[in-house]
Amino acid sequence: MREVYVIGLGITKFSRLEYPLIEIAAYPSIMAMKDCGLNSVDHVYVANMGGSRISHQTALGSALVDHLSLYPAGAETIENGPASGASAIKQGYMAVASGVHDVVMVTGVERMRETNNLEATDFVASLAHPLAEQIYGVTLPSLAGMFTRLYMNQYGVTEKHLAMVAIKNHANAMHNPNAHLHMPITMEGILTGPEASTNNPYVADPLRFFDMCPVSDGGVCLILASKDVAKKVKRPMVRLAGVGQATDTHCVHERENPTDLLAVRGAAEKCFKMAGFKPKDVDVAELHDAFSILEIVESEEVGFFKKGEGHIALEKGYTALNGKLPINPSGGLKAKGHPVGATGVGQAHEIVTQLRGEAGARQVKNAKIGFSCNFGGFGNNVVALAFQKEK
């Protein structure tokens, strides 16, 4: 297996982008090609979840190749729910590591704001089980709400901890020009103040408005290449060191232990094993915080903190931008935005930017090893990636 490097990066602002879906995919792809100075790639992977339903367009991989005149490169569209992004990176990794291709382009794209909020929530809810969950009106926020209630009951996580996650991520996003939300929030404003109930109403109790990520449009591109190509291109040598994936039951009620996220645990284990790192080696991490509880739980399941102690580490400030292990320096999904198909690629983009030392005001000092966790479904398909900066 060859070594795989990330040589090009491109990203749009995550917000409301009133451009056709394919242009939202093309823009960061061109940026990434310019970043590494290449004019062609061997293969294109497009990660997307809702193109067919919201924009009525399928086969985005082929469409992107055409839009960028990259023929005759092969292309595929990868769909894995909210984990589409990391899954596409995984496919790109395997293509280069195996020797089949030398340079691949992985682009994640999503345009969700074309429709109204109800339609967007319905579309995301389509990943729940049709007969055992969807018929009851179960949406992702409701699954997260039920999970959070159990977690609070068992481990003592409080609404204050959830608010801390949101406040931290909003503060981080102030240093990220591409983030969806550029707005600091305060504990008084969202939880403890007298008007907090109107500012931050319940959406799926105990989760509130500011515990949920926004609906965003966005596109991100990563160019992966073999060592030889990476050396020629003269970009910082950031290696995609490990990839791990694991699955769990479809229905949330069938999980072995309802407060465990076994897929996260399994994916992280496999990823660290392949990369040869331990969780304590990680300098910076991007964890999938579509709901603020998930950042806390994932930080435990991947091995950064003991089970049930993620919120204590959060309290102590370990996961802040200037803490021992900064989590979500980009603002996370909460403040950076969550264009479903692009998120996984966006997380990888942030980690590589950090390892390259190009993160500006949100730079984590001396970041050498980075980790990202992309959560698909509601924890039934998780992909973890590990990156390492080399000399």
Binding site: T12, K13, R16, L17, E18, Y19, P20, E23, I24, Y27, P28, N116, N117, L118, N178, L181, M183, P184, I185, T186, E188, G189, I190, G193, P194, E195, S197, T198, N199, N200, P201, F209, F210, G219
Partner: protein, 251 residues
């Protein structure tokens, strides 16, 4: 002659108690003052409402066009018993809400225009309006319609407003709903928020001047761009020039 005509054309307003200003702390820690304004303040509002008539999404265009007409009607003495409340953050305009009294018992809610998104400012402003009708002017019910599906969901369904489909709302005969005193009392906890009196400095800043909104929704490069883009098969050239002007997807 002119004075007599004006007497005919100008309605006489009934005396009602003024809205006592209140303030709320928003999610980002900033404080917002909600206060009533007089006719003389309307000219300061109009230039901030006008550009929104070009913003198609979330029904900003139709709401701001109608609100503009209502504000002008209030200013030029051509609407009876209308009131206007504004919400300001550090003096900058954040929301405008208005309505009028149909008769001493029944009020009509006109519009709610939020000029800053993401902080639930519309929710605060709408609640203030309802408080004014029911708690302060002691009315029995308020008639409400919604242009936007967001508004519909939030107010009609969440507060379980009573249907009044036989009553044509002034705004255009669309199905109207009513917030009765009973429903208001039931939802009081979530509706009546905010504190009084407003600290002197805060109120002074707000009353001094209505400053422009800090981050209002911006009109696109071309009018009706959002709906036209869907059918615009020759739009390729238009899009290219638009991307250039707008700074592409990095902004």
């Amino acid at each position: 002659m002119a004075i007599d005509l004006e007497k005919l054309l100008r309605p006489v307003d009934h005396p009602v108690p003024p809205f006592p200003p209140k303030f709320v702390t928003l999610a980002n820690g900033e404080e917002m003052v909600i206060r009533q304004i007089d006719r003389e303040d309307i000219p300061a509002l109009l230039p901030h409402v006008a550009p929104l008539m070009q913003v198609e999404r979330d029904y900003y265009d139709i709401v701001s066009a109608r609100l503009y007409a209502e504000l002008l009607g209030f200013y030029r003495h051509r609407v009876q018993d209308e009131y206007v409340l504004v919400a300001q953050i550090d003096g900058h305009l954040a929301a405008i809400v208005n309505g009028r009294l149909l008769n001493p018992d029944v009020g009509v809610s006109y519009h709610t225009l939020a000029l800053r998104r993401g902080l639930r400012i519309g929710a605060h402003a709408f609640a203030a309006k309802m408080e004014y009708h029911i708690d302060i002017m002691k009315q029995k019910e308020v008639l409400i319609v919604a242009e936007s599906p967001i508004g519909f969901r939030r107010w009609m369904i969440e507060y379980q407003l009573e249907k009044r489909f036989n009553v044509a709302h002034e705004l255009g005969g669309v199905p109207s709903y009513a917030l009765t005193k009973k429903l208001f009392d039931r939802a009081r906890e979530s509706l009546v928020v905010g504190r009084r009196p407003v600290p002197e400095k805060l109120l002074e800043k707000a009353c001094q001047a209505i400053l422009p909104p800090t981050d209002p929704p911006k009109p696109p490069f071309d009018v009706l761009a959002a709906t036209r883009a869907m059918y615009d098969s020759t739009g390729t050239a238009l899009r290219a020039s638009r991307q250039k002007l707008e700074g592409g997807m990095s902004k």
